[in-house]
């Protein structure tokens, strides 16, 4: 066989094999169901209006109470960040104790570097950004859990099985948003659950209920009449750290480019 024949035959064989091999593609039943249009009727999503947030910290306090994490413990399922952009273009960010005590001074908490006072005349703009688990559609934390202790519910919420978590912290490392930590008592991965115990009973999350300004909202993305869905679909919303491909499901209204 000369080289020309060999190449010809090889191409024929490869082309011939490609047809039956394509039939072997695994079909995910869930995506098949979704294709029919009768997939899960529920997909929880969160909407944060950064312009409505005043940094009172009520949401953080309510969350800590709801999730039984004492206030003096330095982890939190949700927190509020303060952004101060000065006239000379510098951005200062802080979130002392997760912002749970509110932001009552104009001193920025720089941790080891102490506190820095920024007077009102130096400020170009300042705003607050509440943060919580993004309950991503493509959650890196679920992917990396070596025992499957962290999982995604059919309605899109990412949860942790405290009875199964081995405490390796791989999920904490994999989360680009820094929303995970270790529970001080259970010693397992700890995170926001979208108050799954509440929302599955028709209630709102503790933080949504606690917010006096309506800066936090939770809704069902599958319901086109849900006000949250309407805003997400028709409003100008942003998400955090899109570049990681995690498809976060916490949407932000008026998200500024300085937000980390």
């Amino acid at each position: 066989m000369n080289r020309r024949d060999f190449l010809k035959n090889s191409i024929t064989v490869i082309a011939g094999l490609a047809v039956p091999l394509s039939a072997l593609e695994l079909v995910n039943p869930r995506s098949l169901l979704a294709g029919k249009g009768d997939g899960p009727a529920l997909r929880w999503a969160f909407l944060v209006d950064t312009q409505a947030c005043v940094g009172c910290g009520f949401c953080v306090k309510a969350c800590k109470t709801e999730s039984e994490i004492p206030n003096e413990i330095n982890i939190t399922r949700t927190w509020v960040e303060r952004y101060v952009v000065t006239r000379d273009g510098k951005t200062f960010v802080d979130s002392p104790r997760g912002g749970g005590d509110g932001f009552t001074t104009d001193h920025i908490d720089l941790n080891e570097h102490g506190r820095q006072e920024i007077t009102a005349e130096k400020i170009e703009k300042a705003f607050f950004v509440p943060k919580l688990c993004n309950h991503c559609d493509n959650p890196a934390c679920v992917q990396v859990c070596p025992v499957g202790a962290t999982y995604q519910t059919p309605d899109g919420v990412v949860l942790v099985d405290r009875k199964h978590c081995i405490g390796c912290a791989y999920c904490i490392m994999a989360c680009p948003y820094g929303v995970r930590s270790f529970h001080p008592v259970y010693k397992t991965a700890e995170k926001c659950t979208f108050c799954y115990h509440r929302i599955t009973r028709g209630m709102k999350t503790a933080c949504v209920d606690a917010c006096p300004f309506g800066a936090r909202k939770i809704g069902n993305l599958r319901d086109p009449d849900d006000p949250v869905t309407k805003t997400i679909m028709s409003g100008r919303v942003g998400i955090l750290k899109e570049q990681y491909g995690t498809k976060p499901q916490v949407y932000y209204l008026a998200l500024s480019r300085e937000v980390k």
Partner: protein, 415 residues
């Protein structure tokens, strides 16, 4: 206090939940696995590629690799918040996770090393068991030894030339299969880090290869070092024993063998060291050139906060100095000892700069975290994830090796 708060110092803006969660034990884990894989690759050079000059050190590194094997797992156990559930990684593996493959990679590798050892030492087991069997009056210890060695033969008592040839073939097969599995075991440790897209310092597809090369470097270095130490002890003993039995090898003869092995092995070390250094510098060059959004903070760590750790201790003292020491003509034992010690420190620092350095900056890219290594423990956690815990992990393989040497005598066979 929450986990990690004791040893984490935060600077500027760091997310409230961020702490140094992966501490010195996670530095020890790739370091120890690297030693396991490297030691095995060294032993395989003799068995697979028939590099006869490495015969002496090959047996040594095989047993040492086996002694290191259980220790590679201990740092992970010490690091887990629920060590009692550690076994779940093997019982309920979640295969989308890189760590889930640990059980498979680790046990496959363990079985390969164990069976290779068995083929190498079967003759010794049979001979020892038979010698003990002949003995009329056995002490309790000897009876125990007899039972142990009889069991270790696994019922294969045939030590005819034909059977031993088959053993040798078995060794060769196991050593050949073992090389890719050893690389897999360690390359996969690299993948655990390299696949974390959320960590700007870790995420690179080069990571498994960097890990394999540095593993071979550290494995060879440790084997050469231990080999020199044991040979020095043997020289002392030989000098002392020869007074009664002149047929034993003289210290001078032992010295010739020792230098020969060390010089040969050093060549492989240099090659692996150059490969590791090349890959690491390529990674650095790529990051510097590509300037991803994370580069600004990563740069401030590499060229700023961790400059001494990375460029002075790791690359300078840990790579360039030993490279010069090994490349200069007329290698001496003292220089080899210094070189291997520096290489080991360099590889350890590479792991440190990777694991701790990777957590030295916040995911917000707006702040830093510093790991304050707990030296004096004040509770179980600061013991496990502090200096003492790491030292414990570092000492254990030598204790295991001492015990294993009783069953698999490293030096006795060729004498």
């Amino acid at each position: 206090m929450v986990h990690g708060e004791v040893w984490t110092i935060k600077e500027l803006f760091v997310y409230p939940n961020e702490y140094i969660y992966w501490t010195i034990q996670i530095v020890m884990y790739p370091f120890m696995t690297g030693l396991v894989a490297g030691a095995f690759v060294l032993s395989s050079l003799y068995h697979v590629f028939g590099i006869k000059q490495l015969k002496d050190i090959a047996r040594f590194s095989l047993v040492f690799s086996f002694a290191l094997l259980p220790v590679a797992m201990i740092p992970l156990q010490l690091h887990l918040q629920h060590p009692e559930r550690g076994i779940e990684v093997m019982l309920t593996p979640h295969f989308t996770s890189a760590i889930a493959a640990f059980g498979i990679a680790f046990s496959t590798y363990g079985m390969i090393v164990a069976s290779e050892l068995w083929f190498v030492y079967r003759k010794h087991f049979v001979e020892t068991a038979l010698a003990l069997k002949m003995k009329r009056s056995k002490s309790l210890a000897e009876r125990g030894q007899y039972l142990l060695f009889s069991a270790l033969t696994l019922g294969a008592w045939d030590i005819s030339t034909h059977a031993l040839e088959k053993d040798e073939r078995g060794v060769k097969i196991m050593a050949t299969v073992g090389i890719p599995v050893a690389c897999l075991l360690h390359g996969y440790a690299g993948f655990i880090f390299g696949s974390v897209k959320a960590n700007a310092l870790w995420t690179t597809p080069l990571m498994p290869f960097i890990f394999i090369c540095s593993a071979v470097v550290s494995g060879i270095a440790l084997c050469v070092l231990c080999y020199i130490v044991t040979m020095e002890i043997r020289k002392l003993i030989a000098g002392w024993k020869r007074k009664n039995d002149p047929s034993l090898p003289s210290p001078a003869e032992l010295r010739t063998v020792e230098m020969h092995e060390v010089t040969m092995t050093a060549r492989y070390l240099v090659v692996a060291l150059l490969a590791a250094l090349g890959l690491e510098l390529l990674d650095l060059l790529f990051r510097d050139y590509a300037k991803f959004s994370s580069w600004e903070i990563v740069r401030s760590i590499i060229y700023g906060k961790d400059f001494v750790n990375i460029f002075v201790i790791q690359y300078g003292l840990g790579n360039l100095v030993p490279l010069t020491l090994f490349l200069l003509p007329r290698l001496t034992v003292r220089r080899a000892v210094l070189g291997t010690l520096l290489v080991l420190m360099g590889v350890f620092m590479m792991r440190w700069n990777l694991v701790i350095g990777g957590q030295a900056f916040s995911a917000s890219f707006a702040g830093y975290m510093h790991y304050d290594l707990p030296v004096i423990p004040h509770d179980v956690e600061s013991f496990k994830e502090g200096l003492l815990g790491a030292l414990l992990v570092g000492v254990l393989p030598f204790i295991f090796f001492w015990g294993l040497n009783k069953i698999f005598p490293v030096f006795k066979c060729e004498e």
